[in-house]
Amino acid sequence: MKLYDAAAVFRSKNSGPFAITVDVLFTDSLFYYKMKHSGQINKEVVSKLYNVEPELITHIVFFDQALGFKITFARKVSSGTFLDRDVYGAQQHAPLMELEVN
């Protein structure tokens, strides 16, 4: 299945003007722990999906109480200046949605 089929919340936003953060939250705790322990969400995958160097990915963190994980990476162009395409960073979650997971 695709990751977005399993998630209840799937969003992106600026975390300050120099980073994008993607949140994926689940309602099914079994599925959440499966994702957490399977290692399917990793720097290599994120790097490929977002065409971003692994060293620019600052966090991939799971938070059990919220049944979700967060990915944060540095923006190559900061929010709202020349060449930026998404001032709020609100539509940067889409590439990860398509990820095939099992």
């Binding site: 300050g16 003007p17 200046t81």
Partner: protein, 455 residues
């Protein structure tokens, strides 16, 4: 004697976004001890801070403040506004002050003590801290703050912690207008002033600064009540259509933050990893276990923006399948022709940029699926040293693109569908965040000045 409970009413997640008056009055019926509202954000980009403009309209800000001030003064409880005017620089704080004064005058409210906390940091202070190696970029892609970039920066602000706000409350301010503040600080300050635990106070502040966003359905445009106790706090939505759940409140600390449970603030780090979230059965959630630690060196976050160029842009549509098939190639050729035509102008004086909606408009080079739609929205922009130059170059890009005879073209009358006449839109100044740094300071009070006035 410390109170057993301390209640904070958060009307909305952004002053000027509005809130249902019924929710607010329901909150007032709980006899809150303070009304605190956040007005700040860097979300809308560097322009607000750089140009000194507000995020919301004066009308919207005044509409919210009229209710907050009238009811807060009537109840005799402190009112705190965080990050006034959006970016919290002097010009934004003065804008907010003027609105507050107007309301007090119009409503004939007297005997009110107003505290203003300035968050502007002088350029020479930042320069000296840079030289001393006490000012570091916050982020892997933040450009070094050279002398030129520092000089070009219009306003520099720092996010304040609870310390100067507590000082204002100790001075018995009825209304406190904060310059740029760490979003949770105004909430934390009022609770800490009354002796409540700083970890719980900051965690509650982190939730309340977005008002009802951590409820379900979540929104920044509705009220939330926070109730602090000695070893826990409760968040309670004030509209019957909303409920907090253990997960919705736990998940809130994900929002806009780089890490889900480690939050860095002025002089401290909040650790929420071991928090326990309990649903109380009435739509409210109790939270315990928040932890806080002071950092060995007190650092404040600086924000500053500088003007980088002037922009002119055009919005156009492309429906011809022959052009869509080679859109990027044609755009590159158009660009080259304009460079050649204006070969007397140094190429570094301007830049031409195309955004192709329907191809990769949103993600740009990050777009993994490059399949063009049957029609494209094309935005092209020219940024240049002056508005006149941006206008001139953009005009040339537009006419060249409109009539460009690309290989295989059949639509010889024109390549672009403009929705508007005139097609070229002079945008004005383009800004960039030039300062996004952590600066070492002696303590939480050093850089922030409090000022008081009695009305």
């Amino acid at each position: 004697m410390i109170k057993e409970e301390f209640k904070i009413l958060a009307p909305c997640g952004m002053l000027g976004y509005g809130f249902p008056k019924a929710s607010f009055m329901k909150g007032m019926a709980h006899s809150p001890d303070a009304i605190v509202v956040d007005a700040g954000s860097t979300d809308a980009g560097p322009h607000k801070l750089g140009a000194g403009t507000a995020i919301v309209s004066k009308q919207a800000c005044k509409k919210d403040l009229e209710i907050i001030i009238t009811e807060g003064i009537k109840a005799g409880i402190p009112i705190i506004i965080g990050s006034a005017g959006g970016s919290g620089a002097k010009v934004h704080v003065e804008w907010t002050q003027a609105i507050v004064m107007e309301i007090l005058r119009e409503r004939s409210l007297h005997g009110i003590k107003i505290a203003t906390i300035w968050a502007d940091i002088p350029h020479e202070v930042v320069g000296a801290k840079l030289d001393a190696g006490q000012c570091e970029p916050l982020g892997l892609t933040v450009a070094p703050l050279t002398k030129d970039r520092l000089e070009a920066t219009t306003h520099i602000v720092a996010q304040m912690g609870h310390e100067p706000i507590i000082a204002a409350l100790q001075a018995e301010a009825d209304i406190t207008i904060c310059g740029r503040a760490y979003d949770p600080s105004p909430f934390a300050a009022v609770a800490m002033h009354h002796g409540f635990d700083s970890a719980l106070a900051y965690h509650l502040g982190k939730i309340l600064e977005c008002a009802a966003l951590s409820a379900e359905p979540g929104t920044t445009k509705d009220c939330m009540l926070g109730i602090l106790r000695q070893d826990s706090f409760v968040v309670k939505p004030l509209d019957e259509i909303r409920k907090c759940t253990a997960v919705s409140v736990a998940a809130h600390t994900f929002y806009e933050k780089d890490h889900p449970y480690i939050l860095h603030g002025p002089g401290m780090v909040l650790d929420l990893q071991h928090c326990v979230f309990t649903e109380l059965g009435d739509g409210s959630v109790e939270v315990r276990g928040s932890q806080i630690s002071e950092t060995p060196v007190y650092k404040i976050k600086l924000e500053g923006a500088m003007k980088v160029a002037c922009r002119t842009f055009v919005i156009a549509g492309v429906r011809d399948p022959l052009l869509i098939a080679r859109i990027e190639e044609v755009e590159e050729l158009v660009k080259q022709q304009v460079y050649e035509y204006y070969n007397e102008i140094p190429a570094e004086d301007y830049k031409i940029h195309f955004i192709n909606y329907g191809l990769n408009g949103v993600l740009g080079e990050l777009e993994p699926q490059r399949k063009p739609a049957h029609e494209l929205g094309v935005v092209f922009e020219v940024v240049a040293k002056t508005q006149e130059l941006a206008n001139a170059i953009c005009s040339s890009v537009r006419s060249t693109f409109l009539h460009y005879g690309y290989e295989g073209r059949k639509s010889t009358a024109g390549n672009l569908a403009f929705p508007f006449a005139p097609s070229d839109i002079p945008f004005g100044d383009v800004y960039e965040f030039s300062v996004y740094h952590l600066m070492e300071v002696a303590d939480g009070l050093e850089m922030f000045q409090n000022e008081y006035v009695e009305v």
